[in-house]
Amino acid sequence: MFGSNQRRIGAVLAAMLLALTAAACGSSDASDGGQVAATNSAKPLDGKTIAIIQSGAAEYYLKSTAGSQAAIEELGGESKVFDSAFDTTKELANVNSAIASQVDGIILFPLSDASAKAELRLANNADIPVSVLYGYSEENEDNAVGFVQVNFYNQAKALGEAFAKEVPEGPIAIISGTVGRSEVVAFHDGFVAGFGDASRIVEEVAGNYDRKVAFNATQDIITKHPDLAGLVVGNEDMAVGAVAALGDKVGQVKVASQNGSPEGNAMLQAGKLVVTVGASPSQEATMSVRLLANALMGKEADPKLCQTPWAINTPDSIVSVSWEPTPEVIGSGLADPPPCSAE
């Protein structure tokens, strides 16, 4: 179709255009950050650039990123966002890029504690402090300034206790997240411990954190167990699919979930969910920035693991912190010491 020279010229022009666009975006970020820095001269991240390496473009992580950015700006710094697109190799490449960019600190949302291990070692070798959102393990402790994450076991245990009150009898089923992930195991174990009577759990199916998969799984479960009294769903994204599949049976089948997302809160208010357990991604990301800022000021976190606050929500009482990075959420997350939960 095109001559090979024309194609080469086209490719070069496209590359130049991309480079110019990237340069333009970079300079605009820098100038914005410069203004922030100029107006916040006494703040702990003044003049510092912090890399935010987010897991992917899912709503939860986007809110985490927004929270981190707002908190970094509040503390006088500027941020650079890297997206790992749920790919561990890209995550590692992003850490390398952040190191090459000579950032002053990193907020890392790793895909797992295993993927964080090598990345934390790399950053440590480059003397760049890293604050980690999820990905805690004792093995990783020495190479990070701190970790912020929900204690899934305790959270799910509380959900199990609340759900046992809502559904005192009859069979229940669980639609869990992606098999093999540590938080899925912790959620399952915690829920069973809190619910008490494991013999009532007649089915457990993986929903892979996908609402369509959860839709299909719910159809199969309700066909197999028409007398189902309760359904516990591993997050609210999947709960949307489960509730849609239940249709008129919502009510006969009481549904519980976890997240505290705006979508979940709307379902609670509409009576489609009876109980959820929620935490705020913006707040925990902000807490992570606080740990990093403290480390840059020479103040070590002790203990290294700071657990995200969470709350049980019911249709009458939605008490978990907002997902939006509002000034109140940022303010509470940046408190020193941060509001780590004992549970």
Binding site: M1, F2, A57, A58, E59, L62, S176, V179, G180, E203, E204, V205, A206, D210, R211, K212, F215, N216, A217, Q219, D220, I221, T223, K224, D237, V240, G241, V243, A244, P262, E263, A266
Partner: protein, 321 residues
């Protein structure tokens, strides 16, 4: 007597040839039958109408996408952006309705957008001398970004008048199943009885020969990708109605499921062969595996193993040509 023997021999030869021609589909049917028999033996609800309807509903959206993918793959093409296209169509539709647009106009806008994206992809595929695999991988990423630009959060503010369409039961069938049926018929008629269908097989068999025979290959590619885009748009609309919401990742992975169904159904990635019946069996097999494993309470880890094994067996059972 000799004449009779000759007639029997001829009939046997004809039957053997027919069986050989349809070996792939017979093998697929055997796999499907085996799974169905095992599940029916172990689960008392498997053979119920409610479960049969579940299976049909569960395979409908994938099936609609697989029909478009069949048209593409018969012509030697492929489109990895199908899942992202579903996300874009769904999120666009939901956002427009949340902004107060009439559901009908929003549905038309979503399907036309998906078709336009498909047509544009077809144009690029026609102008590129490389296989569309990498090109459409790029489009996949591009559409993911565009979808996030339309809405970064799930859109749930959808009018009840739209959500309730999913309760329609034309001819007594759930709406998604009915639409799937229409798409199957349209695709079959296109492939079997139209000039476009003949051109697709010709291009898939040998693009250079098809060009020499006067087929306007670029135009055909634009049209077939645009038709696949229409199916993508329909899939996005139905999924939004089914889930009463849309979110930027709603179509993630659907392209691979659609391609797997088409390939399992006997359409080679190289093109030139394939039909709607094979794809139907492929779609049915994939839906059946998920349904059966859930009904049999197979643990999730084993579900992955068994799903993979069944697909591998189904592909190995295909006829070599």
């Amino acid at each position: 007597m000799t004449g009779m023997t000759h007639a029997i021999t001829t009939r046997r030869a004809e039957l053997a040839q027919r069986l050989s021609e349809h070996r792939s589909k017979i093998a697929l049917l055997l796999v499907i039958g085996t799974i169905a028999a095992i599940t029916a033996f172990k689960s008392e609800v498997f053979l119920s109408w409610a479960n049969f309807e579940n299976i049909l509903v569960q395979c409908s959206i994938i099936g609609i996408l697989a029909m478009g993918t069949t048209l593409l793959m018969v012509s030697g093409g492929i489109d990895l952006s199908v899942g992202s296209g579903v996300s874009l169509a769904g999120v666009l539709l939901a956002t427009l309705m949340a902004d107060g647009w009439s559901p009908l106009i929003a549905v038309i806008a979503a399907i036309m957008t998906a078709s336009a994206v498909g047509g544009a992809t077809g144009f690029l595929a026609a102008k590129s001398s490389h296989h569309p695999f990498v090109l459409t991988l790029g489009v996949l990423t591009l559409l993911q970004g565009v979808t996030l630009l339309v809405s970064i959060s799930p859109v749930t503010d959808i009018p009840e008048s739209f959500i309730s369409i999913i309760d329609w039961r034309p001819l007594g069938l759930p709406l998604v199943v009915f639409v799937f049926g229409v798409v199957v018929v349209v695709t079959h008629l296109t492939l079997t009885y139209t000039a476009l269908g003949r051109w697709l097989y010709a291009i898939g068999s040998s693009e250079s020969a098809a060009r020499l025979s006067g087929i306007r290959i670029d135009a055909v590619k634009v049209v077939v990708y645009a038709i696949s885009g229409v199916f993508v748009g329909i899939g996005g609309v139905l999924m939004t109605a089914q889930l009463a919401s849309a979110q930027p990742e709603m179509g993630r992975g659907l392209e691979l499921a659609a391609i797997a169904a088409v390939a399992v159904g006997g359409t080679p990635l190289a093109g030139g062969r394939g039909d709607v019946l094979g794809t139907l069996l492929g779609v049915l097999l994939l839906a059946l595996i998920g349904n059966s494993l859930n009904l049999l309470s197979i643990t999730s880890s084993w579900q992955f193993v068994l799903q993979g094994l069944v697909i591998v067996i189904a592909v190995l059972a295909q006829r070599k040509t």
